[in-house]
C-alpha cells in the first residue's frame, strides 16, 4: 500500500521579474517504512516540492495531486492541514538553531507539539513524554536537559531535539530537509544512524532531501534526482549509483571527489544551473550536457522506463541501453551522438567543449 502518492505536481511563484517555475510536473510515491532520497542542487525545486505538500509555500500557484493515506493534501484547508502537519507528517529542517524557539525551554517546545494535537494529554503527561523522547533520541540526562534552552544545546543535540519533536506524535511520514548539512562529519554519522534506527523501530516513512549523494547512498531505498524543477531520473539506490541513465546523474557521480567514478582529475558539469524564470528550450539540461542531441534542443523528454525494472525511469532522449558507467554504455552514447547531432546541437556542443569550466 502506498502512503504518499504525488501526481504531476507543479508549483510556480508569480514575482515581479516573471513566473518562477520551481516544480514542473513531478510524480513519485513513498511506501510505509521506506526512505526516498531526493537529490538535487540549489534551485532544483527539492525543498519547494516537499514544503508544498504541507502548505508551507504561501503565494504559490499549485496544480496536481498529492494523496496521503487517501486524502489529497493540496485540497485541504489550513485548519485541516494543521491536524496533519506535526502529527501525521512532520518535518526536520536543516538549521536546528533557527527552527527552535530561543526563548522557550526545549522540553516545553516538545510538550507543546504533543498538546497541540491531543488536548486530552495533561501538561504533566506531555512533559513526561518529552523526557522519554529526548532519551529515545540519545540525549544524556534528559530529565535535566528538558529544562535547557536551545542555546545550551550543541548543534548535534539541537538536531536530536528536532528529531524528538518530529517523532512526538508518531507520524507516518517524516520529511527531513538537509538534516545533517550543518553538522560535522562525526555528528552527521550519529544523526543518520539515529534516523535509521528510529525508522526501523517505528516503521515511519522518510523523505530525505539532500544535495549530498553520500547521505543518499547511506540511508535511501529509492532515489529521485531533480534538475530544474523536474525529476531527471528515478530508481532504486542501486539503479542511480550503478546504472545511471541521465547524463546529469552521471555528471553528479563523476564530480564527487573520492567516488568510484572519478580518476585523478574531477569531471565537473560545465556551466551553471538555469534560472527558473528563464528556462532553456527543450531538455533543461541540454546547455550543460556532453551528449546533447538535436532533439534535446527543441523537445523536452518525459520520464520513461529504463531496462526491465519498472522503478527505474529517466527523462532523457538517449536509448534505454545507454544506462551505466561502463564502456559499453559510453559506446552507445557516443554512437547515438554521432547519429543524432547534425543540426542545432552542434553549436551547443561546441560551446560546452570550449567553456572555461571544462578546460
Amino acid at each position: 500500500m502506498t502512503l504518499l502518492e504525488v501526481e504531476d505536481l507543479t508549483v510556480s511563484f508569480p514575482t515581479a521579474d516573471g513566473v518562477v517555475r520551481a516544480v514542473r510536473g513531478v510524480s513519485f510515491s513513498v511506501d510505509p517504512g521506506q526512505t526516498l532520497g531526493v537529490v538535487g542542487e540549489s534551485g532544483s525545486g527539492k525543498t519547494v516540492l516537499t514544503q508544498t505538500l504541507l502548505a508551507l509555500t504561501p503565494g504559490a500557484v499549485v496544480t496536481g495531486k498529492a494523496l496521503f493515506d487517501g486524502t489529497d493534501l493540496l485540497q485541504l484547508s489550513q485548519r485541516q492541514m494543521q491536524h496533519i502537519r506535526g502529527a501525521q507528517i512532520s518535518v526536520i529542517f536543516q538549521d536546528p538553531l533557527t527552527s527552535l524557539h530561543p526563548l522557550y525551554r526545549v522540553g516545553w517546545q516538545i510538550a507543546e507539539i504533543i498538546r497541540a494535537h491531543d488536548k486530552t494529554v495533561s501538561k504533566k503527561e506531555a512533559a513526561e513524554r518529552a523526557v522519554e523522547l529526548l532519551l529515545r533520541v540519545g540525549i544524556p540526562r534528559p530529565e535535566q536537559r528538558v529544562n535547557d534552552y536551545p542555546h545550551q544545546f550543541s548543534g548535534g543535540m539541537r538536531q536530536r531535539a528536532m528529531i524528538a519533536m518530529a517523532l512526538a506524535n508518531s507520524p507516518k511520514l517524516i520529511i527531513a530537509d538537509e538534516p545533517t548539512t550543518a553538522l560535522d562529519a562525526t555528528v552527521q554519522a550519529q544523526i543518520l544512524d539515529l534516523l535509521l534506527n528510529l525508522q526501523r523501530d517505528s516503521g515511519t516513512a522518510l523523505i530525505m532531501i539532500t544535495h549530498d549523494l553520500g547521505v543518499v547512498a547511506d540511508i535511501a531505498d529509492n532515489v529521485m534526482v531533480m534538475y530544474a524543477g523536474r525529476a531527471a531520473e528515478k530508481g532504486t539506490k542501486h539503479d542511480i549509483f550503478y546504472e545511471p541513465h541521465h547524463p546529469y546523474t552521471k555528471g553528479l557521480l563523476e564530480s564527487i571527489p573520492g567516488s568510484s567514478a572519478v580518476g585523478d582529475r574531477l569531471k565537473p558539469i560545465p556551466g551553471q544551473p538555469p534560472s527558473l524564470i528563464n528556462l532553456p528550450s527543450g531538455c533543461k539540461f541540454h546547455p550543460r550536457c556532453a551528449y546533447v542531441l538535436d532533439r534535446c534542443v527543441t523537445e523536452e523528454p518525459t520520464l520513461h522506463q529504463i531496462g526491465a525494472e519498472f522503478a527505474h525511469s529517466s527523462a532523457c532522449w538517449l536509448p534505454q541501453s545507454a544506462a551505466g558507467l561502463g564502456d559499453t554504455a559510453e559506446a552507445i552514447r557516443e554512437e547515438t551522438v554521432r547519429e543524432g547531432r547534425q543540426g542545432a546541437a552542434v553549436v551547443v556542443a561546441e560551446t560546452i567543449a570550449t567553456s572555461p569550466e571544462v578546460l
Binding site: 542542487e41 540549489s42 544524556p140 550543541s154 548543534g155 548535534g156 543535540m157 560535522d184 562529519a185 562525526t186 555528528v187 552527521q188 554519522a189 550519529q190 543518520l192 544512524d193 544535495h211 549530498d212 549523494l213 553520500g214 547521505v215 547512498a217 547511506d218 539506490k237 542501486h238 549509483f241 550503478y242 555528471g251 553528479l252 557521480l253 564530480s255 564527487i256 571527489p257 573520492g258 567516488s259 568510484s260 582529475r265 574531477l266 569531471k267 565537473p268 558539469i269 560545465p270 551553471q272 544551473p273 572555461p356 569550466e357 578546460l359
Partner: protein, 345 residues
C-alpha cells in the same frame, strides 16, 4: 637560503582570553584555540588541514597569514621569521601570502565592480597602475575562467561558483607563493565544486603555488592534498603524507572521521564498519586532561586521561607519519566493535 619547505610553523599557540562583561573586564579563562601546533608546507605542494568545527583550523590559518597575533611559537615564511611583525613590516609578506575564503557572498563587497575588486591588490601594493591595471585584471579573469567583458559587473550578477573564481583571481593578482584556502568549496554545489577544485589544481601546476587547504570534507582533502594534518581541539592528532594517513590511520579520531564520512557508493556504505563516537567535541576553554580526545575515544584507558601523548612516529609507519596517541590503531583492528561494546556498558 632556499629549501623545499616554504612555511615552517613551530609550536604555535593562540589563546583568546575569556573576559567577564561589565566595567572591569577580568580575564576568567582562555579559549585554547591552537595549542602547540607545528607544521611544514612544502613548496609547490598542498597541505590539507582537516578537523571539525572549533578544532582551531581557521585560527591556525589566520595566524600563519599574519591576520591574528600569536600567543607564542614562530611562523617562518620562505626563510624569514614573520611572527608578530608590525603592520608595516608585514606588507611585503602580505603579497606572498593570500587567502581564499569560504563564503563567496560575504567576501566580496557588493557595491564594487568586479574589475575594482580584482584590481585592489594592484592598487594597494602600487604595483600596476592606469590602463595597465585593467589589462592585467582582464588577463586574470580569463585565467580563472571568467569572461573578461564582465569587468564592470557587480558580484550580485555572478553565481556562487563564479564568485569563488573572482576570489581566486584576486588572490592570484600579486603572484603569491602561498594561498590559504579556507573551506573554498564547501558553500558550492557538487558539480560547481569540481570546477573550482580543477581550477585550483591547474593554477598550482602553472604557477608553482603552495596551498594550505582547509576543509571538513575528507574526500575533497584527499583529492587535493599531498600532505594531511588532522586537528582535534587545537592540537594535532595525526599528520603525514596523504596515502598512509588515509589508508592506515593510527589515531582513533582519524579512523572515526574517515569512517563517518559519507561514501557516495551504496555498497561501501552498506559494508563499512562505522565508528560512532559518542558525545560532542568538548569546550576549548576547559579541554579534557591528558589526551584531549580521551572522553570520546573507543580505545581510551586510564593513562589517556593522565598523560598527554606526544606526536611521534609509531612502529611500522613511515618516518613522516606522526600520531599523538598512547594506543594507536593497529592494522586490521576493528574499532567499530570496540565502540559498540563501550556503548553497551
Amino acid at each position: 637560503m632556499t629549501d623545499d619547505v616554504l612555511v615552517r610553523v613551530d609550536n604555535l599557540v593562540k589563546y583568546f582570553p575569556v573576559r567577564t562583561s561589565g566595567m572591569i573586564r577580568r580575564t576568567v579563562g582562555q579559549v585554547q584555540a591552537v595549542d602547540g601546533v607545528s607544521l611544514e608546507i612544502p613548496r609547490g605542494k598542498t597541505l590539507g588541514l582537516v578537523g571539525e568545527t572549533g578544532c582551531g583550523k581557521s585560527t591556525l590559518a589566520r595566524c600563519i597569514a599574519g591576520l591574528l597575533p600569536v600567543t607564542s611559537g614562530t611562523v617562518n615564511f620562505d626563510g624569514s621569521d614573520i611572527t608578530n611583525l608590525s603592520r608595516r613590516r608585514m606588507i611585503p609578506y602580505r603579497r606572498e601570502i593570500q587567502m581564499i575564503f569560504q563564503d563567496p557572498y560575504g567576501s566580496l563587497n557588493p557595491r564594487r565592480r568586479v574589475g575594482a575588486i580584482i584590481g585592489d591588490p594592484f592598487a594597494i601594493h602600487k604595483t600596476v597602475t592606469g590602463s595597465e591595471r585593467k589589462r592585467k585584471v582582464q588577463e586574470l579573469m580569463e585565467r580563472v575562467g571568467l569572461n573578461p567583458e564582465h569587468y564592470n559587473r557587480f558580484p550580485a550578477e555572478f553565481s556562487g561558483g563564479q564568485r569563488q573564481r573572482i576570489g581566486v583571481a584576486r588572490a592570484l593578482a600579486l603572484q603569491p607563493k602561498l594561498i590559504i584556502c579556507d573551506e573554498p568549496v564547501s558553500a558550492l554545489d557538487v558539480s560547481i565544486q569540481a570546477q573550482v577544485l580543477n581550477l585550483l589544481s591547474d593554477l598550482q601546476r602553472d604557477f608553482g603555488l603552495s596551498y594550505l587547504f582547509i576543509a571538513h570534507d575528507l574526500e575533497v582533502v584527499r583529492h587535493v592534498s599531498d600532505e594531511v594534518m588532522v586537528m582535534y581541539l587545537g592540537r594535532v592528532a595525526e599528520a603525514g603524507p596523504k596515502a598512509p594517513v588515509y589508508d592506515n590511520p593510527r589515531h582513533p579520531y582519524t579512523a572515526a572521521l574517515l569512517s563517518a564520512a559519507p561514501a557516495a557508493d551504496p555498497e561501501t556504505a552498506a559494508t563499512r564498519q562505522r565508528i560512532l563516537l559518542t558525545g560532542d567535541v568538548p569546550s576549548p576553554i576547559d579541554p579534557p586532561s591528558g589526551c584531549r580526545f580521551h572522553p570520546r575515544c573507543p580505545k581510551a584507558q586510564d593513562l589517556c586521561g593522565q598523560e598527554e601523548p606526544q606526536l611521534e612516529v609509531k612502529a611500522g609507519d613511515v618516518t613522516s607519519h606522526v600520531t599523538a596517541c598512547h594506543f594507536p590503531v593497529e592494522a586490521g583492528e576493528n574499532l567499530a566493535t570496540v565502540a559498540s561494546r563501550r556503548e553497551g556498558l
